[in-house]
Symmetry: C2
Subunit: 200 residues, 2 copies
């Protein structure tokens, strides 16, 4: 009698195993996933409809630490955007290798859509039209995902060598030994974005 | 006598096999690479010093279509930056799954350093100090790498469903059926960046 030797298969266990594979190797296939969980590939399909659904489960995990502010129509739009993008970046920075997988699939998880809804309503209220709202959201996505990858970059992302010219060497020197280099660059970039975006 | 049955091992063949693995699976290990090339892992080390060098070889391939303008000190800095970033994005968009691997290793290839040298000298001439030059270059990197991932995104990156609010639905509708959606968003984002960066 006793307990079964391995925990029962569930969407949660499937997502965890897929995330481990992505973190270790950069991707996952259904056969790899079945092997890792010691089940047959067909038994995976009793719990998930396929690869697409697993990617959405991983997207939900990547989003799990995004904090969405309550709707406050009187708050400056720049403050709402800054708050959302800041937590979006840190939440995704936990899974850098997952990022190209997520961008290769259409977003459908409700957690993600809720974030984009807030950005869209905030931008429309600020005076952006529908087309510019989509462009601005795309810009924010590109900036945040690139910045999430930068969090996982080596402490010194460029090696200073013979080929580095004096201007670039001087710029690099300002980042050396600064553990906040990536955070500092993100705050700078965010300010640039918000300044450049101003509809007024 | 005749030809040997497989081509001789070379750094070029190693890089090509590593790129195929990254494109197919999201990453590579030295044992996978040896298996793919039908050689022993130790024979790889007769041609490359290790994983780091292979990543730099892949970075050079990702950079191979970046066009660097001749130095023209009188040209507006925004035109130089726009030209460099435009070709940087398209060159990297060919290898989306490679991107998190490249950002995880320090940049040392000369091809890449030449691009950063041009950006650094252009920004200094425009009036940015050394610290802001590094921040601006980091912002450009994050924006371009995120935008390169967006080139590989599905034609409709978001699925319109019940959870989408009217503002986001209206924004999404402006991108539907537009094959230039990603290019259009990149041009918009680039203009925002350059406007927000202006040192004046």
């Amino acid at each position: 009698m006793g307990r079964p030797p391995t925990p029962l298969l569930s969407t949660d266990r499937i997502a965890s195993a897929a995330m481990e594979l992505v973190n270790a190797t950069g991707g996952f296939t259904m056969p790899d996933l079945a092997r890792k969980l010691q089940v047959s590939p067909s038994s995976l399909y009793n719990h998930v409809s396929g690869r697409d659904q697993i990617v959405e489960l991983l997207r939900e995990r990547a989003m799990s630490e995004v904090r969405l502010p309550d709707d406050q129509p009187d708050r400056p739009w720049t403050a709402v955007v800054a708050e959302v993008l800041g937590s979006y970046r840190l939440s995704f920075a936990r899974y850098p290798r997952l990022i190209p997988l997520l961008t290769a699939y259409p977003v459908s998880s409700n957690d993600a859509i809720r974030m984009y809804n807030i950005l869209a309503v905030t931008l429309r209220r600020a005076g952006f039209d529908a087309a510019d709202s989509l462009r601005a959201i795309t810009l924010m996505d590109c900036f945040v995902l690139g910045s999430a990858l930068d969090v996982a970059a080596p402490e010194e992302p460029w090696k200073s060598g013979a080929e580095v010219n004096p201007e670039f060497a001087e710029a690099l020197a300002t980042g050396v030994g600064n553990p906040d280099r990536a955070d500092d660059a993100f705050e700078f970039g965010l300010a640039v974005l918000l300044r450049g975006l101003s509809p007024g």
